[in-house]
Protein backbone atom coordinates (compact mmCIF):
# COMPACT_ATOMS: atom_id res chain seq x y z
CA UNK A 1 0.00 0.00 0.00
CA UNK A 2 1.32 3.47 -0.76
CA UNK A 3 2.27 5.42 2.28
CA UNK A 4 0.42 8.65 2.41
CA UNK A 5 1.17 11.46 4.78
CA UNK A 6 1.58 15.13 5.18
CA UNK A 7 5.28 14.97 4.39
CA UNK A 8 8.19 17.04 5.54
CA UNK A 9 8.03 19.82 2.99
CA UNK A 10 11.33 21.05 4.27
CA UNK A 11 14.42 22.01 2.38
CA UNK A 12 18.00 21.77 3.47
CA UNK A 13 20.81 24.20 3.25
CA UNK A 14 23.68 22.28 1.79
CA UNK A 15 26.18 24.76 3.06
CA UNK A 16 25.18 24.32 6.69
CA UNK A 17 23.02 26.16 9.17
CA UNK A 18 22.86 29.72 10.36
CA UNK A 19 22.65 32.48 7.81
CA UNK A 20 24.47 30.62 5.07
CA UNK A 21 23.05 31.33 1.61
CA UNK A 22 20.89 28.68 0.01
CA UNK A 23 22.87 26.29 -2.15
CA UNK A 24 20.94 23.97 -4.41
CA UNK A 25 22.07 20.84 -6.19
CA UNK A 26 22.41 22.70 -9.49
CA UNK A 27 24.60 25.34 -7.84
CA UNK A 28 27.09 22.56 -7.15
CA UNK A 29 26.52 20.72 -10.45
CA UNK A 30 25.21 23.21 -13.04
CA UNK A 31 24.49 22.91 -16.77
CA UNK A 32 21.71 20.35 -16.58
CA UNK A 33 19.71 19.87 -19.76
CA UNK A 34 16.56 19.75 -17.63
CA UNK A 35 15.80 19.52 -13.93
CA UNK A 36 12.47 18.68 -12.29
CA UNK A 37 12.09 18.46 -8.55
CA UNK A 38 9.79 19.07 -5.61
CA UNK A 39 12.63 20.96 -3.91
CA UNK A 40 14.46 24.07 -5.04
CA UNK A 41 17.53 23.05 -7.02
CA UNK A 42 19.17 26.40 -7.70
CA UNK A 43 19.55 29.49 -5.51
CA UNK A 44 18.79 31.85 -8.38
CA UNK A 45 15.67 29.99 -9.47
CA UNK A 46 12.63 32.17 -8.78
CA UNK A 47 9.91 30.14 -10.45
CA UNK A 48 7.44 27.63 -9.11
CA UNK A 49 7.86 23.92 -8.51
CA UNK A 50 4.62 22.62 -10.00
CA UNK A 51 1.23 23.64 -11.32
CA UNK A 52 -1.59 21.66 -9.76
CA UNK A 53 -5.12 20.86 -10.89
CA UNK A 54 -7.59 20.09 -8.15
CA UNK A 55 -10.86 18.17 -8.21
CA UNK A 56 -12.96 21.09 -9.47
CA UNK A 57 -10.51 21.43 -12.40
CA UNK A 58 -9.09 24.80 -11.38
CA UNK A 59 -5.31 25.15 -11.43
CA UNK A 60 -2.71 26.97 -9.35
CA UNK A 61 1.08 27.23 -9.22
CA UNK A 62 2.81 25.91 -6.11
CA UNK A 63 6.26 27.17 -5.16
CA UNK A 64 8.76 26.53 -2.40
CA UNK A 65 8.88 27.25 1.29
CA UNK A 66 11.58 29.34 2.95
CA UNK A 67 13.87 26.34 3.27
CA UNK A 68 13.63 25.32 -0.37
CA UNK A 69 11.19 22.44 0.08
CA UNK A 70 7.81 22.25 -1.63
CA UNK A 71 5.30 24.70 -0.18
CA UNK A 72 3.03 21.99 1.14
CA UNK A 73 0.98 24.51 3.10
CA UNK A 74 -0.01 26.25 -0.12
CA UNK A 75 -0.54 22.90 -1.83
CA UNK A 76 -2.92 21.52 0.77
CA UNK A 77 -4.68 24.86 1.15
CA UNK A 78 -5.41 24.90 -2.56
CA UNK A 79 -6.31 21.24 -3.03
CA UNK A 80 -8.10 20.72 0.27
CA UNK A 81 -7.98 18.02 2.94
CA UNK A 82 -11.33 16.35 2.44
CA UNK A 83 -11.84 12.82 1.18
CA UNK A 84 -12.99 14.14 -2.20
CA UNK A 85 -9.99 16.45 -2.62
CA UNK A 86 -7.40 15.31 -5.17
CA UNK A 87 -4.46 17.15 -6.72
CA UNK A 88 -2.78 16.41 -10.04
CA UNK A 89 0.33 17.81 -11.71
CA UNK A 90 -0.29 19.69 -14.94
CA UNK A 91 3.19 21.23 -15.12
CA UNK A 92 6.50 20.27 -13.54
CA UNK A 93 8.65 23.33 -13.98
CA UNK A 94 12.17 23.01 -15.32
CA UNK A 95 14.64 24.55 -12.87
CA UNK A 96 17.67 24.22 -15.14
CA UNK A 97 17.17 27.66 -16.68
CA UNK A 98 16.35 26.19 -20.08
CA UNK A 99 12.60 26.62 -19.65
CA UNK A 100 11.78 23.09 -20.77
CA UNK A 101 8.78 22.48 -18.52
CA UNK A 102 7.13 19.08 -18.42
CA UNK A 103 3.39 19.18 -19.04
CA UNK A 104 0.39 16.92 -19.33
CA UNK A 105 -2.67 18.55 -20.86
CA UNK A 106 -4.99 15.55 -20.48
CA UNK A 107 -6.62 15.22 -17.07
CA UNK A 108 -6.73 11.43 -16.89
CA UNK A 109 -3.02 11.16 -17.68
CA UNK A 110 -1.77 13.68 -15.11
CA UNK A 111 0.42 12.42 -12.23
CA UNK A 112 -1.15 12.77 -8.80
CA UNK A 113 0.28 14.40 -5.68
CA UNK A 114 -2.74 14.61 -3.37
CA UNK A 115 -5.27 11.83 -2.92
CA UNK A 116 -8.37 12.14 -0.75
CA UNK A 117 -6.93 15.12 1.06
CA UNK A 118 -3.54 13.56 1.85
CA UNK A 119 -0.26 14.23 0.11
CA UNK A 120 1.73 11.37 -1.40
CA UNK A 121 5.18 10.99 0.10
CA UNK A 122 8.23 8.83 -0.25
CA UNK A 123 9.45 6.46 2.45
CA UNK A 124 11.09 9.32 4.35
CA UNK A 125 8.11 11.62 4.20
CA UNK A 126 9.17 13.93 1.37
CA UNK A 127 6.48 14.99 -1.10
CA UNK A 128 6.37 12.66 -4.07
CA UNK A 129 4.45 12.36 -7.33
CA UNK A 130 2.44 9.22 -8.03
CA UNK A 131 2.93 7.61 -11.42
CA UNK A 132 1.43 4.50 -12.99
CA UNK A 133 1.97 2.15 -15.89
CA UNK A 134 0.36 2.88 -19.25
CA UNK A 135 -1.57 5.87 -18.02
CA UNK A 136 0.51 8.58 -16.38
CA UNK A 137 3.25 10.56 -18.06
CA UNK A 138 4.43 14.11 -18.83
CA UNK A 139 5.81 15.46 -22.08
CA UNK A 140 8.86 17.68 -22.42
CA UNK A 141 10.76 19.27 -25.28
CA UNK A 142 14.11 18.12 -23.89
CA UNK A 143 16.13 16.73 -26.78
CA UNK A 144 18.81 14.26 -25.76
CA UNK A 145 20.99 11.56 -27.23
CA UNK A 146 21.61 8.32 -25.44
CA UNK A 147 25.27 8.37 -26.41
CA UNK A 148 25.86 11.44 -24.20
CA UNK A 149 23.65 11.46 -21.19
CA UNK A 150 23.57 11.28 -17.40
CA UNK A 151 20.32 10.99 -15.50
CA UNK A 152 19.56 11.28 -11.80
CA UNK A 153 16.17 10.05 -10.68
CA UNK A 154 14.88 10.00 -7.13
CA UNK A 155 12.14 7.40 -7.05
CA UNK A 156 10.14 5.23 -4.75
CA UNK A 157 9.29 1.86 -6.19
CA UNK A 158 5.83 0.40 -5.74
CA UNK A 159 4.67 -3.15 -5.24
CA UNK A 160 5.67 -4.32 -8.70
CA UNK A 161 9.00 -3.88 -10.47
CA UNK A 162 7.97 -5.36 -13.78
CA UNK A 163 7.50 -1.92 -15.30
CA UNK A 164 9.46 1.05 -14.04
CA UNK A 165 10.16 3.32 -16.98
CA UNK A 166 10.84 6.59 -15.18
CA UNK A 167 12.04 8.19 -18.38
CA UNK A 168 10.67 7.60 -21.82
CA UNK A 169 10.73 9.08 -25.27
CA UNK A 170 7.99 10.61 -27.33
CA UNK A 171 7.42 7.85 -29.84
CA UNK A 172 4.11 6.43 -28.70
CA UNK A 173 5.05 2.97 -29.88
CA UNK A 174 8.67 2.72 -28.85
CA UNK A 175 8.89 5.01 -25.86
CA UNK A 176 9.20 2.57 -23.07
CA UNK A 177 12.70 1.25 -23.16
CA UNK A 178 14.93 4.21 -22.58
CA UNK A 179 17.19 4.15 -19.57
CA UNK A 180 14.68 2.70 -17.28
CA UNK A 181 14.24 -0.06 -14.84
CA UNK A 182 11.53 -2.49 -15.64
CA UNK A 183 11.01 -6.10 -16.57
CA UNK A 184 12.54 -8.08 -13.77
CA UNK A 185 14.38 -5.29 -12.04
CA UNK A 186 16.60 -4.40 -14.98
CA UNK A 187 17.60 -1.22 -16.68
CA UNK A 188 17.15 -1.43 -20.42
CA UNK A 189 18.64 0.63 -23.18
CA UNK A 190 17.38 1.06 -26.68
CA UNK A 191 14.05 1.79 -28.22
CA UNK A 192 12.19 -1.45 -27.87
CA UNK A 193 12.78 -2.62 -31.39
CA UNK A 194 16.53 -2.83 -31.99
CA UNK A 195 19.51 -4.28 -30.18
CA UNK A 196 19.30 -3.56 -26.51
CA UNK A 197 20.90 -4.51 -23.29
CA UNK A 198 19.85 -4.81 -19.70
CA UNK A 199 21.59 -4.35 -16.39
CA UNK A 200 20.21 -5.48 -13.08
CA UNK A 201 19.51 -2.26 -11.23
CA UNK A 202 19.34 -3.61 -7.71
CA UNK A 203 15.87 -2.28 -7.04
CA UNK A 204 13.60 -3.68 -4.37
CA UNK A 205 9.91 -3.25 -3.75
CA UNK A 206 8.50 -0.24 -1.93
CA UNK A 207 11.86 1.45 -1.44
CA UNK A 208 13.52 4.77 -2.24
CA UNK A 209 16.34 4.90 -4.78
CA UNK A 210 18.61 7.39 -6.43
CA UNK A 211 19.03 5.87 -9.87
CA UNK A 212 21.35 6.97 -12.66
CA UNK A 213 22.15 5.87 -16.15
CA UNK A 214 25.44 7.08 -17.59
CA UNK A 215 25.84 7.03 -21.34
CA UNK A 216 29.38 8.18 -22.12
CA UNK A 217 29.33 7.05 -25.75
CA UNK A 218 27.28 4.80 -27.99
CA UNK A 219 29.15 1.80 -26.56
CA UNK A 220 29.95 2.90 -23.01
CA UNK A 221 27.04 2.78 -20.59
CA UNK A 222 26.68 2.23 -16.89
CA UNK A 223 23.89 1.96 -14.34
CA UNK A 224 24.39 3.30 -10.81
CA UNK A 225 21.83 3.13 -8.01
CA UNK A 226 22.41 4.45 -4.51
CA UNK A 227 26.06 5.16 -5.44
CA UNK A 228 26.75 1.53 -6.36
CA UNK A 229 27.65 0.56 -9.92
CA UNK A 230 25.24 -2.13 -11.08
CA UNK A 231 26.94 -2.97 -14.36
CA UNK A 232 28.02 -1.72 -17.76
CA UNK A 233 27.01 -2.27 -21.34
CA UNK A 234 28.91 -1.93 -24.62
CA UNK A 235 26.05 -2.65 -26.98
CA UNK A 236 26.27 -0.07 -29.76
CA UNK A 237 23.26 2.18 -29.49
CA UNK A 238 22.86 5.82 -30.36
CA UNK A 239 19.46 7.41 -30.59
CA UNK A 240 18.20 10.95 -30.50
CA UNK A 241 15.05 11.27 -28.46
CA UNK A 242 12.78 13.72 -26.74
CA UNK A 243 12.48 13.04 -23.06
CA UNK A 244 9.24 12.05 -21.39
CA UNK A 245 8.73 11.80 -17.63
CA UNK A 246 7.48 8.30 -17.00
CA UNK A 247 7.18 6.19 -20.09
CA UNK A 248 3.74 6.26 -21.66
CA UNK A 249 3.92 2.49 -21.87
CA UNK A 250 5.64 0.42 -19.17
CA UNK A 251 6.05 3.42 -16.95
CA UNK A 252 6.88 3.28 -13.26
CA UNK A 253 4.07 2.37 -10.94
CA UNK A 254 5.49 4.21 -7.98
CA UNK A 255 6.57 7.68 -7.03
CA UNK A 256 9.01 10.27 -8.37
CA UNK A 257 10.58 13.13 -6.41
CA UNK A 258 13.16 14.41 -8.82
CA UNK A 259 14.57 13.91 -12.32
CA UNK A 260 17.69 15.69 -13.52
CA UNK A 261 19.27 15.07 -16.92
CA UNK A 262 22.63 16.20 -18.28
CA UNK A 263 23.66 16.08 -21.91
CA UNK A 264 26.98 14.35 -21.21
CA UNK A 265 28.04 11.09 -19.66
CA UNK A 266 29.53 11.34 -16.18
CA UNK A 267 32.37 9.23 -14.89
CA UNK A 268 31.43 6.80 -12.16
CA UNK A 269 33.11 8.93 -9.48
CA UNK A 270 31.30 12.08 -10.60
CA UNK A 271 28.00 10.22 -10.64
CA UNK A 272 28.63 8.88 -7.15
CA UNK A 273 29.49 12.36 -5.90
CA UNK A 274 26.25 13.72 -7.35
CA UNK A 275 24.19 10.89 -5.91
CA UNK A 276 25.81 11.39 -2.52
CA UNK A 277 24.90 15.08 -2.60
CA UNK A 278 21.31 14.23 -3.52
CA UNK A 279 21.33 11.73 -0.69
CA UNK A 280 22.30 14.38 1.86
CA UNK A 281 18.83 15.80 1.26
CA UNK A 282 16.73 12.67 0.90
CA UNK A 283 18.61 10.31 3.24
CA UNK A 284 17.96 7.25 1.13
CA UNK A 285 21.12 5.19 1.75
Amino acid sequence: MPRIGIGLGLGLFQGGGGAAPYVGFLDSYPNAAAAYSLRKLRAAYTGNAIRVRRTDLTEQNIGFNALGGLDTTALMSFVGTGVLDNGFITTWYDQSGNGLNATQTTALNQPQIVIAGSMYTDINGFPSIRTAINAIWMNTSVNLNNAALSTFKVIRTGGNLSNSGVMGATDNVNDYAFFNSFADNNYYYGNGTGAESSISAGLTLNSNFIASTLNRSSTDRQVVTNAVSRGTSNVNKQTNFTMRINAQYRGLTGFVNEIIAYGSGDSLSTCQAKQNLINTYYGIY
Binding site: R53, T103, L108, S197
Partner: protein, 84 residues
Protein backbone atom coordinates in the same frame (compact mmCIF):
# COMPACT_ATOMS: atom_id res chain seq x y z
CA UNK B 1 0.07 -7.23 -27.53
CA UNK B 2 -2.21 -5.97 -24.82
CA UNK B 3 -5.86 -6.41 -24.06
CA UNK B 4 -7.39 -3.00 -23.58
CA UNK B 5 -10.69 -2.19 -21.97
CA UNK B 6 -12.01 0.91 -23.61
CA UNK B 7 -13.70 2.43 -26.62
CA UNK B 8 -12.70 1.62 -30.19
CA UNK B 9 -13.13 3.90 -33.22
CA UNK B 10 -12.65 3.22 -36.92
CA UNK B 11 -11.72 6.80 -37.78
CA UNK B 12 -9.75 9.49 -36.00
CA UNK B 13 -12.67 11.89 -36.33
CA UNK B 14 -14.85 9.54 -34.30
CA UNK B 15 -12.20 9.51 -31.58
CA UNK B 16 -11.98 13.30 -31.68
CA UNK B 17 -15.74 13.56 -31.35
CA UNK B 18 -15.65 11.25 -28.32
CA UNK B 19 -12.88 13.31 -26.72
CA UNK B 20 -14.80 16.54 -27.30
CA UNK B 21 -17.92 15.04 -25.76
CA UNK B 22 -15.94 14.27 -22.61
CA UNK B 23 -14.47 17.79 -22.53
CA UNK B 24 -17.95 19.28 -22.83
CA UNK B 25 -19.30 17.04 -20.07
CA UNK B 26 -16.55 18.07 -17.66
CA UNK B 27 -16.34 21.69 -18.80
CA UNK B 28 -12.72 21.67 -19.94
CA UNK B 29 -10.89 23.96 -20.28
CA UNK B 30 -12.03 25.82 -17.19
CA UNK B 31 -9.84 28.90 -17.56
CA UNK B 32 -7.96 30.47 -20.47
CA UNK B 33 -4.58 29.94 -18.81
CA UNK B 34 -5.18 26.36 -17.73
CA UNK B 35 -2.77 23.70 -18.86
CA UNK B 36 -5.47 21.04 -18.86
CA UNK B 37 -7.10 21.02 -22.29
CA UNK B 38 -8.79 17.62 -22.43
CA UNK B 39 -10.37 15.19 -20.00
CA UNK B 40 -9.19 12.16 -21.94
CA UNK B 41 -6.97 11.53 -24.95
CA UNK B 42 -7.35 8.93 -27.66
CA UNK B 43 -4.59 6.66 -28.91
CA UNK B 44 -3.71 5.16 -32.27
CA UNK B 45 -3.35 1.40 -32.69
CA UNK B 46 -0.64 1.80 -35.27
CA UNK B 47 0.49 -1.80 -35.43
CA UNK B 48 -2.95 -3.36 -35.73
CA UNK B 49 -4.48 -4.40 -39.04
CA UNK B 50 -6.72 -2.65 -39.73
CA UNK B 51 -5.47 0.30 -37.71
CA UNK B 52 -7.90 2.02 -35.37
CA UNK B 53 -8.18 4.65 -32.66
CA UNK B 54 -9.18 3.99 -29.08
CA UNK B 55 -9.74 5.50 -25.66
CA UNK B 56 -8.67 3.62 -22.56
CA UNK B 57 -11.51 3.06 -20.09
CA UNK B 58 -11.92 5.09 -16.96
CA UNK B 59 -15.08 5.00 -14.92
CA UNK B 60 -15.40 8.76 -15.33
CA UNK B 61 -16.11 8.11 -19.02
CA UNK B 62 -19.10 5.85 -18.56
CA UNK B 63 -21.73 8.64 -18.39
CA UNK B 64 -20.50 9.98 -21.73
CA UNK B 65 -19.20 7.03 -23.72
CA UNK B 66 -21.21 4.20 -22.24
CA UNK B 67 -20.19 0.61 -21.65
CA UNK B 68 -16.62 -0.20 -22.73
CA UNK B 69 -15.49 -3.23 -24.72
CA UNK B 70 -12.26 -5.22 -24.64
CA UNK B 71 -9.94 -5.46 -27.64
CA UNK B 72 -6.33 -6.23 -28.57
CA UNK B 73 -3.72 -3.55 -29.23
CA UNK B 74 -0.41 -4.66 -30.73
CA UNK B 75 2.76 -3.26 -29.15
CA UNK B 76 6.43 -3.92 -29.98
CA UNK B 77 7.80 -7.21 -28.79
CA UNK B 78 9.48 -7.35 -25.41
CA UNK B 79 11.75 -8.30 -23.67
CA UNK B 80 14.60 -7.06 -25.87
CA UNK B 81 16.55 -9.41 -28.00
CA UNK B 82 19.93 -8.96 -26.39
CA UNK B 83 20.83 -9.00 -22.73
CA UNK B 84 24.08 -8.89 -20.87
Amino acid sequence: MAFIKGYQYKTEQEAINAREACDAYYGIPVGPDDVTQNWVEYRFAELNTPQFWYIVFDESLTPILGTPTEFEVLTPSFPPNEEL
